[in-house]
């Protein structure tokens, strides 16, 4: 009997800022403010005098030198001086995590083994923070200081029992595994806040150090147990191998989740795979020297997803829907059903079919793998696109079918030149994503939208999910003649202007549906954020005690929708491509003339869509290991020094900050001011005893 145990502990502290938002992220604000504005107010007395009568005003100063930060002003709506915003104290998040795992394995009888394992993840986390009095803009200010704090605890335990049996009969090898597992996550939360710190001192930011009174309603507290989440599974697997030539493996799982209602807890997921080692066949014995191994693979399987919140299938009571009655302005408690329930909510299932071939050449120094796969997801768990007149937030349902099909290549080559060892590897994958059925009868749904642009992403049957949605443009009207000649002739011969209100300098929109006017029906697919190809390669070189390794990655064919500019605020700083705008006949055929309060030229269109393909040197590392002779004298088995860089070089046509943006879901490929990845240099040493 063998018993193993592992225990790990980690602690983390972090402070964060808002990213990828057009409403006041630090980077977004820096892009949009006028470049003439200085970080600090040039004339402090004048800036303070402007707000002299405003009782809500508390100046924000740089804590390092006491200078007053420039106040951007109300022309920028909610965009504020980003350095002022970053200088404010925020919340610090902390996490303590214990992960333990105990397992026991017992050999019951000949090849019959029983293994049980128990794992637990106990996490404590929370945040503590305080706000001091500040004024950034009339919508972003605090007239009282506040301290807030929150503590959470969660325990996830998992138990797994498996029984396995191996048997060999001549050239036939069998292996059978039966198992069962269960998991539960539960937790508690407690948090509170109070107003009016005795002194605005970060080191004393505790709720006990405040003077807010309970009877004034200044103290707030909340908390309780969190909804538990459970999973339970049964599974069985059989593997069969004949003489290392033919391989078969089949698995059946039955998984249950607490996220679904009674009768819908469980779903069954079978899968199987086949393999054929061609080179082990007798007819391949006389193969050429350089063909070391060839294997053909095929697999088919089903798996599931239950990653939604709890109780989507049943309506609970939701309190806090209050109203005020009476002269005394009494807040009276109201309750209503929490959601529109969907009793039929069940597991989302995907079916994946994969076929592949592996080659090994020259004694496996050169290997190549090619795979083709098709994955179909049925019953995707998404918000049902029901009308708002239903009067309640939209329910979650199993709607929609999606298909992903792709081709993957992997190639690696190891070789030696004199004393240098080279190891080069690369992979590339081609992906085609298609939404087969959105689950409603119109077959389309608009998703993200932005102020002044309208809808920017959309899903439609038969198209990649999601795609960018807007007008197609066809240059700029250079003069009135061009406006007058942009006409549409109907079948009965009448000719009308397609853009009758246009002036020279306006964008010429394409009349996609050919009805003679530009309106919402002319919006169409103008790009999408899914890359056609994603690839990477790494190169490792080793010479004596030196090692050099490089990892490159890139994508081809993805678009980025650059919506970092707020077109609904007239006074924002314009991006440099606006220097190439139309200012007279012949000056530009891409960007329109600038008009304050322009509500026509900058609606969602292909002017925003840019090529997001890139190639990036993700990681490069050079290291030197001291010769063993020297280090063994100090009882050190190895000492290695290294210098490395991350994100060192990027090649891309995208003129935004970073083409590797992480927006996903219905916003795939939309850049609202994503914080770029940093170039990191590191130096280090690694010591082994």
């Amino acid at each position: 009997m063998v018993i193993t145990s592992n225990l790990a502990y980690s602690h983390m502290r972090a402070k964060g800022i808002t990213t990828n938002s057009e409403f006041g992220s630090a980077l977004g604000s820096a892009l949009m403010l006028s470049p003439i504005l200085t970080v600090y107010a040039p004339d402090e007395a004048a800036a303070l005098a402007e707000y002299a009568g405003n009782s809500d005003f508390t100046p924000v100063r740089d804590p390092r030198n006491g200078k007053l930060y420039t106040i951007a002003g109300s022309n920028y709506n909610e965009i504020v001086n980003p350095l002022a915003s970053l200088s404010l104290p925020g919340a610090t998040n902390w996490t303590d995590k214990f992960v333990g795992n105990f397992s026991g394995e017992l050999n019951l009888w000949q090849q019959l083994r029983f293994k049980t394992s128990f794992g637990a993840d106990l996490a404590f986390w929370g945040d503590d923070g305080y706000t001091k009095k500040y004024y950034l803009t009339s919508n972003n200010k605090a007239t009282r200081s506040q301290v807030y704090s929150q503590m959470n605890r969660s325990l996830t335990w998992q138990i797994e029992n498996t029984l396995s049996y191996d048997k060999k009969i001549g050239e036939h090898n069998f292996s059978l595994v039966l198992g069962q597992s269960a998991q539960e996550t539960s937790g508690r939360q407690l948090g509170g806040s109070n107003y009016d710190m005795v002194e605005e001192d970060g080191s004393k930011a505790n709720i006990n150090f405040t003077t807010g009174m309970q009877e004034d309603g200044d103290m707030a507290v909340y908390g309780g147990a969190t909804t538990p989440h459970t999973l339970s599974s049964y599974f069985g697997r059989i593997s069969y191998n004949y003489a290392e030539r033919y391989m078969l493996q089949a698995t059946v799982r039955r998984d249950g989740s607490s996220n679904f209602g009674p009768n819908k807890h469980y779903a069954t997921f079978p899968s199987f795979s086949l393999g054929w080692n061609i080179t082990n066949e007798s007819f391949m014995e006389k193969r050429p020297e350089w063909l070391t191994s060839t294997k053909l693979r095929f697999s088919w399987g089903k798996n599931g997803n239950e990653n939604i919140g709890a109780f989507g299938y049943m309506a609970l009571t939701s309190t806090g829907n209050n109203y005020i009655f009476g002269n005394g302005e009494q807040l009276t408690n109201g309750t209503k059903p929490s959601i529109l329930a969907n009793k039929d909510l069940h597991w989302e299932e995907s079916v994946q079919t994969d076929g592949g071939i592996d080659f090994g050449f020259i004694g496996n120094a050169l290997t190549l793998s090619v795979d083709y796969y098709v994955k179909r997801t049925n019953g995707m768990l998404m918000t049902m696109p029901v009308p708002t007149y239903v009067g309640e937030s939209k329910p979650t349902g199993n709607i929609g079918k999606m298909e992903n099909r792709g081709l993957e290549f992997e190639l690696s080559y190891k070789f030696k030149v004199n004393e240098c060892n080279f190891n080069i590897g690369g992979n590339a994958s081609y992906l085609k994503n298609k939404l087969i059925d959105l689950g409603n009868s119109t077959g389309y749904s608009n998703y993200d939208s932005m102020q002044g642009l309208g809808t920017i992403t959309r899903a439609e049957n038969g198209q990649p999910f999601p795609f960018f949605y807007g007008y197609k443009t066809a240059g700029i009207f250079q003069n009135m003649d061009e406006v007058r000649s942009y006409t549409h002739t109907t079948s009965d011969g009448t000719t009308t202007l397609i853009q009758p209100n246009a002036v020279p300098g306006d964008v010429r929109f394409v009349d996609v549906n050919g009805d003679g006017k530009i309106d919402d029906n002319d919006r169409t697919k103008i790009g999408n954020g899914t890359p056609r190809w994603a690839y990477g390669f790494n190169i490792n070189v080793n010479w004596k005690n030196f090692d050099l390794s490089m990892m490159w990655q890139g994508t081809i064919g993805n678009d980025i929708m650059d919506v970092t500019r707020r077109v609904d605020i007239s006074y924002v700083n314009l991006p440099s491509y606006m220097l190439n705008r139309w200012t007279g006949e012949g000056t530009s055929n891409k960007y329109p003339h600038f008009v304050m309060g322009d509500n026509v030229n900058w609606q969602s269109s292909d002017l925003y869509v840019k090529d997001g393909s890139y190639l990036r040197l993700k990681n490069i590392q050079l290291s030197y290991t001291l010769p063993k002779m020297w280090t063994s004298k100090l009882f050190v088995s190895s000492l290695r020094f290294f210098v490395s860089a991350e994100n060192l070089l990027t090649f891309t046509k995208y003129d935004g900050f970073d083409p590797e943006i992480s927006s996903g879901g219905t916003s795939l490929g939309v850049d609202r001011g994503v914080y770029p990845q940093a170039r990191v240099w590191s130096v280090g040493a690694s010591l082994n005893f």
């Binding site: 002299a52 009568g53 405003n54 809500d56 109300s74 017992l106 029983f114 009339s138 919508n139 200010k141 029992n161 069962q180 269960a182 107003y195 309603g217 309780g224 147990a225 969190t226 909804t227 459970t230 249950g256 989740s257 607490s258 009674p262 807890h265 309506a315 609970l316 009571t317 309190t319 829907n321 109203y323 005020i324 009655f325 009476g326 302005e329 009494q330 807040l331 009276t332 109201g334 309750t335 209503k336 059903p337 929490s338 969907n342 049902m384 696109p385 029901v386 009308p387 708002t388 007149y389 009868s441 119109t442 389309y444 608009n446 002044g452 919402d520 609904d568 007239s570 304050m596 322009d598």
Partner: protein
């Protein structure tokens, strides 16, 4: 071997202990109950009724949009301009004001808020059957309140959009309701009001601690508003009867000073029939939770930009809904309503924004101290109640119905002059339709009634025409009576919604 059997036994026991039955996967919420068994007592069904009142407070800001419900019709009329920073600030307000709204550029908050209210009102009626041991009188009272609230929400939808989905039982899968014609919606509203008025046991006026609840007088006023907007002469007699019921109850009377209506102490004065309640003391409405009951953002929307807080007892704002210079001039000399309605900011320093005239809507401007004591976001927590129905409208309704030929008691001229003389004017006017409409114009600037009055009397096309400033360039036509239905609804309704012919 024995050892192994013992081990095996222990491990099998472990397996059995952890063997999962279905009950392992049935979890209970630690802080919520299932709704199906929840409404089983009077206090709980009252909670459902309170939830039906909740959406009344959402119009001014929710779902990312400002749709203060009185303002949204006033900007389409001729007393005020839209204002703001420029034509892209609350762009759909500017488009609506110039009768060029689009399905993708039209107000949607009011649509969502009204249907949320309708959903909650329907729930009160649906779950009432589960309630045990509730006295019949209370049961009828709650049902009537829910019906009147439902009628009120549908009235807003009906006036702005006309042809809307109408349902009295909440929808189930696939959540589609066919569109009803405007007249059918009108019939549904009247049916709800008839039922509530006859069977409800609604009190004529609420007690002090219940101000804000639906009352019989409020139901009467809603009935008259709807009947008169529809120009349904067959119901004029009943409407007049209802107005007379309010007048003869003796519970309401005109206050002597018109400007006192709009202050904090004027909330729920003798003249006030129904208001939407907002509070400031201890209010917790915030940008992150704009549906929390608290204050209102309307005063902040309509006050002058960069105004030094406290000057002349007013605070700063975002300069929407500036009052037109022409509106200042419609008042006769000696009419106290002019200064109560219009605040003249021209002598003070402030930043002039788009369509500035120097005049602001005094009735709902941000008065200094009216958001004092709030605990979240100061902009959202002004305590000004929204005055929906006042006794002066009862008198003017009665006068107009009498002149239009309704049969009943009362003298139109007396009613009209009660309102006329309260304003400080000393002359005596005759009861003609034009005089009554003029009195309504003077009395209700900024109270969301002017636009509907113009439409129902057939004067909209004559009066709502392009102006000399170039702000409004289109004329009102009959097609503009109903706004475009929001595009998101057309898309989600799977072909069952036909767009209005705007």
């Amino acid at each position: 071997m024995k050892k192994k059997i013992i081990y095996l036994g222990c491990l099998i026991a472990l397996l059995l202990v952890t063997s999962c039955s279905d009950s392992f996967l049935n979890v209970e919420s630690p802080d919520k109950e299932s709704i199906d068994e929840y409404y089983n007592s009077q206090s709980r069904i009252f909670e459902a009724l309170v939830a039906a009142y909740g959406p009344l407070e959402w119009f001014d800001y929710s779902f990312g949009e400002y749709n203060p419900i009185l303002t949204m019709s006033d900007i389409m009329a001729d007393d005020v301009w839209v204002g703001g920073a420029d034509r892209t600030d609350n762009k759909f307000w500017h488009l609506m004001a110039n009768y060029e709204a689009l399905p993708t550029q039209v107000m949607t908050n009011a649509w969502t808020t009204c249907y949320s209210g309708i959903n909650r009102s329907n729930n009160v009626i649906y779950y009432m059957d589960d309630v045990k041991s509730i006295p019949d009188a209370t049961k009828n009272l709650y049902l009537s309140e829910a019906k009147v609230l439902r009628a009120y929400y549908y009235t807003i939808l009906w006036k702005f959009w006309g042809n809307i989905p109408y349902y009295t039982k909440n929808l189930s899968y696939p959540y589609i309701q066919p569109q009803s014609k405007a007249d059918e919606v009108y019939a549904g509203i009247i049916a709800d009001l008839d039922d509530a008025i006859k069977n409800g046991g609604l009190p004529m006026k609420a007690d002090g601690s219940e101000y804000g609840r639906v009352t019989l007088s409020m139901a009467y006023m809603l009935y008259a508003e709807v009947v008169m907007y529809q120009n349904d002469a067959s119901k004029y007699d009943t409407a007049l009867q209802y107005m007379n019921n309010i007048i003869s109850s003796g519970k309401y009377q005109l206050v002597s000073k018109y400007d006192s209506i709009w202050t904090k102490s004027g909330e729920w004065c003798d003249e006030s029939i129904w208001e939407i309640n907002y509070k400031n003391e201890g209010a917790i409405r915030s940008w992150g939770n704009p549906q929390a009951a608290g204050g209102t953002v309307l005063p902040r929307l309509i006050s002058p930009k960069d105004w030094a807080d406290g000057t002349a007892g007013r605070d700063n704002g975002w300069a929407f809904e500036p009052v037109r210079k022409e509106t200042y001039n419609i008042f006769e000399a000696g009419d106290t309503r002019r200064n109560a309605t219009i605040f003249d900011a021209s002598k003070y320093t402030y930043t002039k924004r788009y369509e500035d005239t120097g005049y602001f809507l005094n009735k709902y401007m941000a008065r200094t101290g009216y958001n004092a004591g709030q605990k979240a976001d100061a902009d959202l927590n002004y305590g000004n109640n929204l005055r929906i129905y006042r006794y002066s409208e009862t008198l003017l309704n009665a006068a107009e119905l009498l002149v239009r030929g309704a049969k009943g008691t009362g003298d139109a001229k007396t009613y009209l002059n009660m309102v006329h003389s309260r304003s400080g004017l000393t002359d005596v006017v005759d009861a003609t339709i034009d005089n009554i409409l003029q009195e309504r114009r003077w009395e209700f600037v900024g109270e969301g009634k002017r636009y509907w009055d113009l439409i129902r009397t057939g004067n909209a096309a004559k009066v709502l025409v392009p102006d000399t400033y170039g702000y409004r360039t289109n004329s009102w036509t009959d097609k503009k009576k109903y706004l475009p239905i929001p595009q998101g609804e057309i898309d989600a309704a799977q072909g069952t919604l036909t767009q209005n012919n705007y």
